[in-house]
Amino acid sequence: MPDNDMRAVRLIADAMSHRLTRRDIITRGLALGLSFSTIGWVLAACGKGSSSSTATSQSGSSTSAASGSTAGSGSSSSSSTTTAASASGSPAAFSGAVSNAPTGGTPVNGGTFTIVFPGATADLDPQSAYDNQASCVFFGVYEMLIMLKGNSTFEYQPMLAKEWGPSSDGTEWTFTLFDNIKFHDGTVCDAAAVVKSFQRMLKMGLGPHDVIGRFVENPDTDITAPDAKTVKFKLKTANPIFEAAVASEYGPFIVSPDAVDKHKTDQDPWAHQWFVQNMVGTGPYIADQVNPQEQIVLKQFKDYYRGWDGNHFDQIIFRVVEDTATRQQLIVGGSVDALTNALTPKAVDELKQNKALQVIAYPSTNVNWSTLNAGDRLKDPDVRKGFCYAFPYDDVRNGVYKGLVTETNGPLTPTTRGYDKNVFIYKTDLDKAKQLISKQFKPGEKFSWMLASGDDGTKSVATLMQANLQQIGFDLDIREVERSAETNLAYGDSPPAQRPDIFGDWGWWPDYNDGYNEIYPNFYSKSAGSAGSNVGYYNNPRLDQILETVAPGVSDADYNKLLAEAQNIMTELDPPAIFWGTIQWYTIMNAKVRGFEWNPIYLNSYYFYNMYKVK
């Protein structure tokens, strides 16, 4: 019986014996190329209910996570969800949200929510800024047409658009807007304004323009407003991932076209310089004080179309505090209400015991890896596999990162579209490492590992790897450089011979839920040098072919099959990197804050409108 058929049989058997959750069935079914109706049958037969897929969603399941709370109140917060079991031979089910958040309390309407950032957000133009700290600010001031729903990376909910969907052939998407939407400058946000906003993003050509540019050929003719409430996108080809892109927190925020017209100049026809320092969106909060190097203050937008019934903050403050110790003092002392990924793992571990705080660690789409220089001495895939076996996975995950990094198999996480649970996973095996590396290198050979200075975690990782290599007779020269110097080398055009053997601290998460978007910038051969993030000059022709096939859009079945093959290439066959963990992002908040919903793609972001404090 062919392999796929055997796997299908095994899937059904596992499902019927209730060894799989609904999510496992859907994920494995898709990976096998089963149709939705077949998957639905399997689910129904096992009593798991029908698939929740709609015309707009792909796999339909929300991300599941291991339940449980840390020592503390014993009750789970509203942010944690329940678990998935793990199949043998695959990585442990990703630890989902773990939280010590208390529940209950009497909601308070009003007040201030203060978030502390480790650095400034220089660029406040949502259609050119390309970092998630900026996106955190944008979530208060701007809106997309749709957004990811709750903790899910596959389900969507309305934002500016109340309804949406593709045409029958999938080449056209239609979005219907809510009524009475206004920009902060008082102008109306109708379909024409949305079209102009997208046109600005694509024609300006900065930052994240390719998030939508990948799907739309000509912004002048392919994005239209047939009436005041309807926005239509004509895609280059049918591609269901367009929905995910529209929900991205990079780029597709709607800016006021009136503000653009008012502040544009001959040299700056898109008013980009003005939007760098000013914000005019449709979001629930309006910019009150903008001093990006120190603080940004938002206050309630009284004409917000969803209204202000219920409990909401009056004011949101983003404060820049560069010193880690000071940030810790501020959150412990209650001077600020929240921070995300801005303390050391040790500090986070300690703060879990603090009853005045809630520590929510949640799964992300962020994978960390150490890039291997495949363009120079480490050309041989076997040698690179040797490095993968030499890595001290358990020590790094549990010792250095205190569990904030979990096991991963390849460049995708379980929350990312295209993830294949059955991909090979490396474990530390120094004998195998020695055997493989020795194929090319004699004992005593020295390798170089570059990392950015100032991060004790990555330095510890390097030191542990050095210790392992020394055990098998090789040496590792750890080179610390300033982060900007590392970035400069990585993204410059220096050839592989002038790069270190290993870029130690690298990682990525996709702009939207698309495995291609995770892999392409980092491992496509033409993304090398200044063209992208392929800092190791990795070149695998079959991987390139897969990415080129997937890019314009393929069926779900083909997508999953091809990405499964891609992951297999990048792990078992020809690893470009040591994939050492999926990052658990964490948010530490004042224990009185409620309404926070984490999302594995909207990292570092808070949907402020739903949040409030209790007394």
């Binding site: 900065l206 930052g207 501020l330 200044s530």
Partner: protein
């Protein structure tokens, strides 16, 4: 003579600054760096990076960039900061007064404490007061400023709650109307006493930490100067003529003893005004030091150049002021 001195010095300032600008520009451009990529971020495409490079003139030859930059300086146009994306002039206008206020307060603290301590230590050598002065001096030199800053923050903010953690004002407090751009002075001038106290409250910890590093230098210089002067014949003469001790010390000895201290104070002002990076970072003080370090790490050529030129100018200017003050303090001195 004074006018001649001023003219000569001003001419030399120009040459110093030109030399400084060439050296700084060359060094910052020698380092292989791509500020455009840092602005765009790692996710941006190569085309976007190219666009940004062109937007900020980074794709032009280095000498063209230098000439354009120097032309701009004459109109006080220092270009656009690549880290804040604002005109550098705007950034300097915001950050320099913050450093000035912090530095001057720190200096005032070190003078108010250091000079009397130095005098008393000299008048009563090898007594408890002198030993206390020595302990303070050694502590100020030995204790790393960042440690002191963190400890003060931990004690006075986190544990005792007596003082704020940093910043110039609380977040929702509007600054006073800008006259000198020093919040304490402007609050006093505009008659806003509550704001004055708030601004002062925010100044106390960072100014103390910064001043504590300068205090030992002033204390020791005053002490050494006083000891030397008090041993001179004319002081013995003054005492033997029946002049009061207070008059002998304050009117006759101190003025001469302060000469070397004036030099040190002038240099310390230069050091302080160039911004203490660590203090500014720990206390989130929006000063020139913090701006400079961000510029360096982000390869923000324009910010680096501007800050270097301004600090260079400050040092040269302070040197000039010190020389002029010598003429006033000691009529024996001539620069002919």
């Amino acid at each position: 003579m004074l006018a001649q001195l001023l003219v000569k010095r001003l001419i030399s300032v120009i040459f110093v600054l030109i030399g400084l600008s060439i050296i700084t520009f060359t060094l910052s451009h020698i380092v292989p760096a791509d500020p455009a990529r840092l602005i765009a971020g790692p996710r941006a495409s190569a085309d976007t990076v190219k666009l940004i490079r062109h937007q900020y003139g980074l794709d032009q030859p280095v000498y063209v960039q230098y000439v354009k930059y120097m032309k701009g300086i004459f109109t006080l146009d220092f270009g656009t900061s690549l880290s804040t994306l604002r005109p550098v002039r705007t950034d300097l206008g915001r950050y320099f007064p913050a450093t000035a206020e912090l530095s001057l307060t720190a200096l005032l603290f070190s003078l108010v404490v250091g000079i009397p301590l130095g005098i008393v230590s000299a008048l009563k050598p090898n007594t408890i007061i002198d030993y206390f002065g020595r302990v303070i001096s050694v502590s100020g030199l030995a204790i790393p400023v960042f440690w002191l800053a963190l400890m003060c923050q931990f004690l006075f903010f986190a544990k005792l709650g007596w003082l704020p953690d940093g910043q110039r004002l609380p977040i929702n407090t509007a600054p006073p109307r800008s006259i000198t751009h020093l919040y304490t002075i402007d609050a006093l001038i505009t008659g806003n006493l509550p704001l004055f106290w708030t601004a002062l409250e925010h100044l106390v910890m960072p100014a103390f930490v910064l001043g504590f590093g300068v205090l030992p230098v002033i204390t020791r210089m005053v002490r050494a100067g006083m000891l030397e002067t008090l041993g001179l014949d004319y002081i013995r003469t003054a005492r033997s003529k029946g002049l009061s001790e207070r008059a002998t010390v304050m009117r006759h000895a101190l003025r001469n003893a302060l000469l070397p201290t004036v030099t040190v104070i002038g240099m310390q002002i230069g050091v302080l005004l160039s911004g203490d990076i660590l203090v500014e970072i720990i206390f989130s003080w929006p000063g020139i030091g913090r701006y400079a370090i961000t510029g360096v790490t982000q390869f923000d050529y324009n910010a680096i150049m501007a800050v270097t030129l301004i600090i260079g100018f400050i040092y040269v200017f302070m040197n000039l002021l010190v020389d002029i003050s010598y003429l006033i303090l000691d009529p024996r001195i001539s620069y002919s």
